[in-house]
């Protein structure tokens, strides 16, 4: 290698250290996560430029490592939500009307997304059965699969899977326990059996 060629190779300098992080966040290949206070206690929340990707109560994941293990996506921790998201989420969690919150459900199957979309149409203060969701999908035989999809809802509270109960009126399962489900529904004014 000549001196000139060596001098040219020396011009191959490293980019600023935060360029990889910024690129992954901007593309949506990595999320950002933070904790927020809510009427239901502190929550972990993850989001991409497209919308919220995960919500979990702090009591279910005590450390950021627990949340990242659960979330299974590359993510960077920051200390606050962006303002546009913060306003929408605060309003949604206070009112139970969550349709203004953008969500990012990439990575889920078409069926899972359809289940969550149907679930999002259930208004605060009302409940529907797993069978109702299956009917909305014009697939009445899929009740069990609907239950599985709701059990894996990555953004509970934003997609209000707590408003889905058993057809006999029993409260049914909830990822964070039936007690929390009951509290959420009572808070929204739903009439429970």
């Amino acid at each position: 290698m000549t001196d000139l060629e060596q001098a040219l190779r020396a011009l191959d300098i490293q980019p600023p250290t935060d360029l990889v992080r910024t690129t992954l966040i901007e593309t949506g290949a990595a999320d950002q996560i933070t904790t927020i206070d809510s009427p239901f206690g502190p929550l972990w929340i993850a989001w991409s430029p497209r919308g919220v990707t995960a919500v979990t109560p702090r009591f279910a994941c005590e450390s950021v490592g627990d949340f990242l293990d659960e979330h299974r996506r590359n993510a960077y921790v920051i200390d606050h939500l962006p303002r546009h998201l913060e306003e929408r989420i605060d309003k949604a969690l206070a009112s139970g009307m969550t349709s203004d919150v953008p969500v990012d459900l990439r990575g889920l199957s078409d069926f899972q997304r359809a289940v969550l979309a149907a679930c999002s149409r259930i208004e605060a203060g009302t409940v529907r059965s797993y069978g109702w969701i299956a009917e909305q999908l014009e697939n009445p035989g899929s009740v069990r699969a609907v239950g599985t999809a709701l059990g894996r809802n990555p953004i509970p509270l934003v997609v209000p899977c707590h408003r889905v109960v058993r057809s006999d009126g029993a409260i049914g399962n909830y990822a964070f326990g039936p007690e929390m489900k009951r509290e959420l529904l009572i808070r929204e004014g739903a009439i429970l059996m």
């Binding site: 000139l4 060629e5 011009l11 980019p15 990889v20 690129t23 593309t27 290949a29 990595a30």
Partner: protein, 181 residues
């Protein structure tokens, strides 16, 4: 990432097919430094180089989201990324022609010392033709093989070799002229 542990094409392809976000992260870590370095020499601006290094991967990610497995399986990642980056460089240079390079806030302290003789190299590269500058930067700064430069620039390998050779000759003449000043 250490250059000794760079993943090969097959590994990256498997990774992208298996998990787009994970594979894409590997792709950014592997190729973004070279694209930043090359874009810096071609645009002469740190801020432009940073934006181009970022926009290249934004476009690549959007494309990969729409590609099926067969398209990913036949993709040669580095020349593909560099084709995107070079277009962005050309657009940027066209838009900002005549402006002098401005340091970004982050790089002011580095430029104060100017250990890489940035200003000197910017002046020297500016005296090459666009094709010579592109070929020399891709070959000798970024360290791409000639066959990839030919693919990226759409020029035959013989022409790329001639561009590099003439570019190096011109740089030697410029540097000799500086030494005799």
């Amino acid at each position: 990432m250490d250059t000794m542990t760079l993943p090969d094409q097959a590994e990256m392809r498997r990774s992208i097919l298996d998990d787009l976000d994970g594979g894409f992260t590997l792709m950014v870590m592997t190729y973004q430094p070279g694209i930043y370095s090359g874009a810096l020499r071609l645009t002469r601006h740190h801020d432009d180089a940073q934006e181009i290094a970022q926009d290249t991967f934004l476009r690549a990610y959007r494309a990969l989201e729409t590609y099926d497995d067969d398209q990913v399986a036949t993709l040669a990642f580095r020349p593909w990324l560099w084709t995107i980056a070079l277009n962005l460089c050309r657009n940027r240079v066209r838009r900002s022609r005549g402006t002098s390079p401005l340091p970004s806030e982050e790089t002011i302290s580095v430029l104060d010392e100017d250990p890489f003789d940035e200003e000197g190299w910017n002046d020297r590269f500016a005296k090459l033709t666009v094709t010579q500058r592109t070929a020399v930067v891709l070959r000798h700064v970024v360290d791409l093989p000639i066959i990839e430069i030919a693919e990226i620039t759409g020029r035959p390998t013989g022409t790329v070799k001639a561009d590099i050779s003439r570019g190096l000759d011109r740089l030697r003449t410029i540097i000799n002229g500086e030494d005799h000043r």
